[in-house]
């Protein structure tokens, strides 16, 4: 299943869940297999992904063509972010940044 990520900058990661976004961010630093992903995400975001959550998110991202599986190294399958995956991540992070900036501005204006 391919995704539509037209030039308009549609945020396809809005509904995939936090785990998928964290995996994409981790893979943006280079290909990794499951164990390395869990370790990297723990270091990066302080989130401990359960292995069941990890494989569910990896399958979903692969079906969306946002990541791809590389040839197995021993029993481990490394995954790599694809070009549409990188673009989707960029759009999602931009969107988060806009929301974050708006939130900070409102907090400042309301003086809370």
């Amino acid at each position: 299943m391919s995704i539509r990520n037209d030039g308009a900058g549609q945020d396809v990661l809005r509904r995939v869940g936090e785990a998928s976004v964290l995996i994409l961010i981790s893979l943006a630093g280079g290909p990794k297999h499951g164990y390395a992903l869990i370790q990297d995400i723990k270091e990066l975001a302080g989130v401990e992904l359960g292995p069941g959550t990890l494989y569910g998110a990896l399958d979903r991202l692969e079906r969306l063509d946002l990541i791809e599986s590389l040839p197995a190294d021993d029993r481990r399958h490394p995954y790599r972010i694809t070009a549409p995956g990188a673009e989707a991540l960029r759009v999602h992070l931009d969107s988060l940044e806009r929301v974050s900036a708006a939130g900070r501005l409102r907090l400042r204006l309301s003086g809370i």
Binding site: H33, G34, G50, P51, G52, T53, Y55, G56, R75
Partner: protein
Amino acid sequence: MGGPRMTRLVAVALRCYPARWRRRHGDEAAELAALLIRDGAAPCSIAMSYLAGAAREWLVPRPGRRLSTVTCVLLVAACSVGASAGLLASAVPARAASTGNPGGHAHCLPGSSAHAPGLAGQGTGFAGQGTGGATPATGRSQVIVWAAGHGQPC
């Protein structure tokens, strides 16, 4: 402490996934679980994570999976829950009947003056009143006597 048993639990959880998933991720998932356990993760939480993942795999419709398969899985799950509830419901009266043995442990019963410390201390006089329990207040006290009586060596 229970290491091999917990590892078996992880293996059982992995067997809950569909065959297609196991062919693709099975070996790697088992290795990942072993690495995480080695790092100090609780095997139980790993097994639970895999169980939740397996449930999602079965229940979330995939493009290649027919809806009837998902419906069947849901039906089987519902039936097992119903059967378990039925078994539990039938076991409760049986257990109640087996514990209420008035002939063998008469001194533990409500109304017996032998072991009713809670009531005797309160000076309510219920301990010597027999098991009539006609009024609501008497019924409530009898429950207390039951609880107190079962704490005693009968």
